[in-house]
Symmetry: C3
Subunit: 359 residues, 3 copies
């Protein structure tokens, strides 16, 4: 019996199947420091304990994306070790803050299967959830990936494509217990812009950029305990069509989020990711820039202290965002992503509202 784990192939998945993923992980202040060093993030809620406490939280939470990457990393071995492509995310909800000392453990359920016409691979849809040491769900997300078949002869399963929401509805946005933004102080960021100041249709070019080197993305991806080989093995990747190690797309999300500070500084955190595409591959040596478009501005029922902004953030490599009017260009009559576009992320932020404390 081989001692090796070689991941699951398309035939190994069945509708309704449940997978408990390995490597539970205690997260700590050490992870938070590394995340700051890897991204340069400056959002105050996860930077300073007194800020988090002034807003009713018991401590500064880990950046939601750090928690997401760690939770996600656990699923790679069982779900996407043999994936050709990460096709999409939907209905990502940050159910509870994750604090230093918490232990994350992830599970998945197969919610959809569809063999592709080539007969060589198929799409697997999973709903994954990460739990803390008390068994409380802290994060949940759907994703779908294209996975190799072990053998093209294997019979195709009954196709089933799950219904997934286009976005998390405002009334379903998770808001951390105890969070009260009434005492929010714009001096924490130096930016005066709150929920009321953002208009649907508005575009913000975030100016600042970030060049990533090999050690940056591999340190990040190892920190997340993501074991997908194509991020780590230059020897294996050299003869591939990429010619080199590929950056973990999740880390590109983190970089773009950190760069969006200049323009979205007062966001309290990400409540949900509605969907996202890694439009083109990213590599060490790329300099990343980002712009955001305000998609919708939602009141949160019963909350005068904060509202929600649905935002689309676009990540670009090796060119300034001002040169791009749109994420897509015309190519032979089809709209395709500009070749320098690396990320198209649709997500929802919580943002303080004006009030007695923030006139």
């Amino acid at each position: 019996m081989s001692k090796l784990s070689t991941g699951n192939f398309f035939e190994d998945f069945s509708l309704g199947q449940r997978l408990v993923h390995g490597t539970p992980r205690t997260v700590t202040d050490g992870d938070a420091s590394l995340y700051t060093a890897l991204t340069g993030s400056r959002f105050p809620v996860s930077s300073a304990t007194p800020v988090a406490r002034a807003l009713g939280l018991r401590d500064r939470p880990l950046d939601e994306l750090l928690a997401f990457h760690i939770a996600f990393g656990k699923t790679v071995n069982d779900i996407s070790f043999n994936a050709l492509a990460n096709l999409g995310y939907a209905d990502v909800r940050f159910l509870q803050p994750v604090y230093a000392g918490d232990t994350l453990q992830s599970e998945s359920e197969v919610i959809g299967l569809k063999q592709n016409s080539s007969g060589k691979n198929g799409n697997v849809y999973v709903r994954s959830t990460s739990y803390n040491q008390s068994g409380e769900a802290v994060l949940t997300w759907a994703r779908w990936v294209m996975v190799h078949k072990r053998s093209p002869e294997s019979p195709a399963p009954e196709p089933h494509i799950p219904e997934l929401p286009s976005h998390v509805a405002p009334e379903q946005l998770p808001i951390p217990a105890g969070l009260d933004a009434s005492a929010y102080d714009t001096a924490w960021t130096g930016s005066k812009h709150l929920w009321e100041d953002y208009q649907p249709g508005e575009r913000i070019d975030h100016i600042n950029g970030m060049t990533v080197d090999e050690s940056d993305h591999t340190l990040a991806t190892r920190l997340y305990q993501n074991n997908a080989r194509l991020h780590f093995e230059e020897l294996m990747m050299k003869p591939s069509r990429f010619g080199r190690r590929l950056m973990y797309g999740g880390h590109v999300i983190s970089l773009c989020r950190a760069l969006s500070f200049n323009g979205l500084a007062n966001s309290l955190g990400i409540a949900a990711i509605n969907g996202g595409s890694h439009c083109n591959p990213s590599f060490a040596g790329n300099t990343f820039y980002t712009w955001s478009e305000i998609v919708e501005r939602w009141e949160i029922p019963g909350r005068g202290d904060l509202g929600a902004l649905r935002v689309r953030t676009l990540g670009v490599k090796d060119m300034e965002t001002q040169q791009l009017a749109d994420a897509k260009i015309d190519k032979d009559g089809r709209q395709v992503y500009h070749p320098n576009l690396v990320l198209d992320l649709d997500y929802t932020l919580l943002m303080p509202r004006r009030g007695p404390g923030n006139p």
Copy 2:
């Protein structure tokens, strides 16, 4: 109204103006570990809790320069985002140890302004102070930077150049409450050299060197949440006169300080920085070496357990220090820094004295 912060230009500053800087930051053991990984520092007081406790402190403090870089990083967005040059530091005093769990928040006051003769920029002098979560000042420093004007037509302000001390006087050196070096044990470093052993005029070539790669200095500078673009954006820097990303000068100070362990191992910490120049730019790929000159040896009034050493530490790139008799060379009759000289730092160390415990 633009959502972007583009920093202050020369016209935006006024004498006596006060600025509260964003992104309060809780510092942790994670930052301390990263600082060790980034610098290789081996000074025992910040390396080991039992050492710090044996000397009367409640815990091992963070390296003073780590605290400084984090405190300093907060001021960049408001003070030096549009700076052409960091002209100097003076009167840097480390007022209190910073411990894991403390939260730093920085403020500045404009203490001087002088437009330059070109009319295109001017020098801004600030006194910055960083406070902990109890509102106690833990660090204070003056610095001056040359900042672009938004428009050459803007009128020049009344020039005012503040008086700054050439050095922090021995009687003004901050000494941490409770610190008592009587129990200092030279086995903590393996070096036998204490305060009495250093002679003004003495030169120490510290032998060890350190090559820095891109990820090293960018990880450090992101950890410090310093958002000056020229450290991070290869795309922007390529066509600049530097041709590539510039290292944050503060990190060069940290490297030289860590390298000075071999020769100044028993220093208890930096009490003050009297002044400093980044003489030439530093880049990834450089190998740094350092030498020190003992400038003055001061008794501390009322203290038999420790004394002060005023030290000048010189940082050199890509050559061994023994090849340089002096920091400056003659160039057309003027004394200028050798092109490989990157740092000229004048600072004051606390050092244990001989006594019953250290005969």
Copy 3:
């Protein structure tokens, strides 16, 4: 009197000599996070506190190799600063778990000396032990290094070669107090393979590889406060026979151990290292792969919950392990290590046994 520490030369050592090494070090969660980021390790006992507690430990211990590298790093300045070669390790025993908050301090005794026939250098054998803040020994190891003489004229000492065991006997393997593997849950790794499943003579090719960049190995080696110059100074190493900075061999051990997760996932930790060779030098840019051979399977007297596996793990650079039938090749009638072989490590793992909890 020079202020510099230039390490000990062969003449400076004498049989029975005791050395107390500098820089005591408090280890923290920050070190553990960095170690994860540097190696990608996924072994659950040091990844998650609830796992460690379910097995009877008071907290998740630091990875044994992280503790080893920190403990070892302290000895470099006194033992191997002037070494030409690290010749071997023996009888490395991990006596107690090391937890975040512990402070490590190392001492050595010279247990052997033998001048080499050239008269220019000699072999020094030391027994080193690292203690925690309570004075308990947590790690002990023997190693021998070839050290330069200060002068070829110095007389040779009486030769003495210590007897060192070929391996740590099963009855001498340290087992952490309180450790009880009865509640081990294979869901923590997703691997079903326990002690009974491994057969002496079995070979496991661990598939996954890891490319190392300059910042990776230098960050690691600085974290370990190892100050051997050849890991850090590109300027010094460029004209050397290596042509560049050399990786610290201990970090190669860590990488191979982390890569061995795929195949040895349920190992509870390393109890002992029986011996090891760094067969060829390793450099940034290398991609590392590894295979393991099960050497012996030992019952532990009185323990039904866990057993020991003596394992030989081979590290290879820049080629897949499947291409190598053996670590050694024939060269002019002699058996020598294959030039891509970088590590030959003989060590002993603790592994859960089947039982009521793990049928």
